[in-house]
Structures are given as C-alpha cells and as structure tokens.
Amino acid sequence: MTHDELLSKLFPASHNVIVQDGLVFGGGTLGGSQPVHVIGVAERSFLGVEGAIALAKHVLSAVKGTARHPILVLVDSRSQHMSRHDELMGLNEFLAHLAKCLLLAAAQGHRTVALLYGGSAAGAFIATALACDTLLALPGANPEVMDLPSIARVTKLPLEKLQEMAAATPVFAPGLENFAQTGAVAQTLDPAGDLAAQVLEALSRPPASDERDRLGAERGGRPRAAEIATKVCREAKTA
C-alpha cells in the first residue's frame, strides 16, 4: 500500500499530513471521528540525526497541547542513516531522544500507535515503531534487523543454509510473520477491510504494560524471554 492510499483510507474526510524529505508530519481525523497527531518516516527513507530531531519536536509539541490526542506513527523506512556525519553528531542520542519522547507522550496519556506498512530496520525501527505502545502492521510490511545476505556475511554461513534455518525458526530472519511471532507486532490489519475502524479499535484497547514478551511466548517466536524476565523479578523479590 502506498503512503497516499494509506492516508486516504485512514482519513477519508481530510487530513493535513505532509511528507518532507521522507519524514511525515501533520494530523487528521481518523475515520472522520478521532483527531490524531501523525508523524512517521515514508518512502523507505533512512532516519538520521536531522530526521530524528524533527520528529521528536513534533511529538513534544503534541505533548505540550492540552488535548491528549493519540499519536499515530506511520512507518516505511530503512535503517538508521549510516554515515560518519550522523555518528559524529551522536546519532545514538538523537534516536534515544525520539524513543523517549514517544514513551513520555504515552506516559502523559497519549495513545501511541505505530502502523508499519513498508520497511523498517535496526535503529530506525527501535526509535519509531518499537517505541510505541502498540505496533500494528499491514501485510507486505518488512521489518528487519539486517537482511539475510548481510547476516550471511557476518556469521560466515552460506546464504542457502541461512534460508533453510530461517524456515525452522522465526528468531533471526527478516519479515513481518517472524516479528509478529516474537511479539513485536500486536496485530496485522486486514487491508481489504475498513482500516480506520481497525486502527480505532486498536486505540480503544491500550495495553496496561509492555506485553510483547508474553505475546512472543504465546506465539512461539520468543520461547524464553517472558519466563526469564519473570524469574528475575521473582528472585529479586526473595533475595
């Protein structure tokens, strides 16, 4: 689904969402009933220091407003911008800042929902989609940490062998289905149905806490994480 198609489905009446240098800003009335702030990354862009600070500014100004409208984060990105300039400027602080802004917005009472409709990877994924309370996705979305050929290079394993292994476990290979199984993606939406209604429905069910490890255990993509975290908490209490 293209960015424009997505917007027309989410905001059938009108919206003022713009795309500037691959960054998404604006707002609209979801399904004609629920006002939302919108940020995001479009056109499979890389997210660098300039992009992260611009998005964070928009989140902070939403938080400064009196209304606690939800913040919708639309994501079709690549990874963080890999460059000497970005690292010289301290990209880690910029991405952390954006993630913190989204998390603080949630703590201030804004629902934060990301909709992954394209790609996303690595640091850009962590600072946008994964920093929201709820991550929704559309079929065809392609989240990844690193593509398989690169993983093959780093692990020094033949690509064919990796592809074979990827079929047996969701834990390392790219793709929406794998990420859904690990609990990252709360729900995959039906593109043929009323998208706005589906997002509104998700907005009405805020998770009480970070449920992703429990989801990952239920879906089998992260067999141990939830149990380990629970065991640690239990030991900490009795120690």
Partner: protein
Amino acid sequence: MSQATTKTQRRVSWFEATARQRLAALLDPGSFTEFLGPAAREISPHLALFSLPAQFDDGIVIGKAKLRGHEVFAAAQEGRFMGGAFGEVHGAKLVGLLRAAKAASRDAVLLLDTGGVRLQEANAGELAISEIIRAIVDLRTGGHSVIGLIGGRAGCFGGGGIIAGCCTRLIVSEPGRISVSGPEVIETNRGVEEFDSQDRALVWRTMGGKHRYLTGGADCFVDDDTAAFRAAAIENLAGRTPLTVSVLEAEQARLKARLRRFGTAKDGSEVWQALGVTNPASVPGMDTEEFLNAVRAVRESADDAR
C-alpha cells in the same frame, strides 16, 4: 599517555577486566547477590542451531548490591562472549532486572559492553532492546536513576548505543566507544571513502570516549581504571531528578544546538576546534588529567538534559 603517576594503588584496567571482575571492583565488597546466576544454566536456546557454544549466564551478570551503602540493581555485559550482544535470554535478564528495580524502588547501574544485537537471534535481541528502553524510561519517570558505564572491549554499539542515550548519566573512559552504526557497518554499507574502519584514530575521533565527553554525549570521563569507575558511579548516582517532559524539551534544545553549532564539521577535530579547544590535534594523546584540564571550560555539558 604520560608515565608520571603518583597513585600508590595498583590500577586495574576496566577494559581488560571481565564482567564479573568489573562488578566486584565497582560494588561494595561482598554485597553482590546474583539473579539467575550460572548455576541456573539459563543458556541461549538459539546458538546451538548455529553450532556456537553457549555461556551459562548468556553473557550478562545481573543482581543487586550496594554502592557505598546504597542498594542498587546492577547488570554487566561480558564483551568477550558473542561481543556482548543482546540475544533473547541476555536481553530478557536485563528487562527483568529493570522491572525488578522499579518494583523495589531502586536505582540501576548498567555496565554496557556490547556490539548490539546478536544476529543469530536478531529479532529477539532487537525486541529486547526496545523492552529495555521502555523499562529504563519507566524506572526514570518513577524518579530512579539509571547510570551507564562504558569502557569495555566491545564498546557500546547498535541498539546498545540507543540504550546508553536513555540513561540518566553516562560514565565513559577513553577506550569506550558509543555509536549506533559501528565502523565496519558504515564501511560495508557506504564504502571506505565514507568511513575507513581500519583507521583507529578516525574511529576514536568520531565515536570515542573523549569525543562523546566533549560534546555532551557522556557526562563523566574517567581513567581506564575500575576504582575511577566506582568513584564516578557513586558521584553520579546522587541527587538525580526524574525524567519528565521538561527534561526532554531541554534535550531537544541541546541536540538541536549541537547540530546548529557543529553540523558542518567533517571530523571530530573540527568539532573540538569549534568548541574552542586550544590545540585539537593534541586531544587524542592527552592523559586523563591533561584532557580534563584542557577541556573543562569549553566542553558541552548535557546538564542533565538526557
């Protein structure tokens, strides 16, 4: 490095120490209680698929302890096992520790030493990093501090760098490197013209401890010495305030100002020049005392806008 030293105590290198040695040197003697220690044998369930050996603690040691009498929750990554990278169990141990710290109303100290996500369990590692960030923010908005200590072999890369950026305060030594894309990652993706990962001096000028301290990416610069890390951790733990929207507004202004002021610089030395360091070329060769004296008046402080 200057050879002149008047210290009578034997210096113990943080860089060379293992995760367990670092914890032992950092925390009050005998105060550490480990959670899910090696005897629990909670190893990675995924490494065997890659015919890789497991480690009983999956490369991270977690527990509670005292830091000059103050009870803290502590975690130390072992940079020599799988490059200190985050896998499912490794990450979940830190998630659990941070959640437990919140439940117990305690501060946390994180001894970060990581190449980022463990590719053999990449999706689980990436998600764990996101959960860790959320747990850190939860802890901090509740008024507790999370202090990051960086000076290990593996540096602090990938999602580890983003975790560092979420800490209340960061203590770094010269060998400590903090970045998202590591040198090899930039070179592989963008070519050697963009970044020559073999050029060690370039690596340190771009992401090394001194550069981060000079630009406000770290709050405290110490010798590669476990005793110095301990003293700094004690000092930086005291008197912190909760993470609020105002802190983030101040961080927004701070980062924006950094881009405005240094955004056109091509190299670390140009940034230091713009800061007003008298002789930027001499910065990499200075020992800790010289360096701190030379930059004290000109460095950008984060002023708790983190």
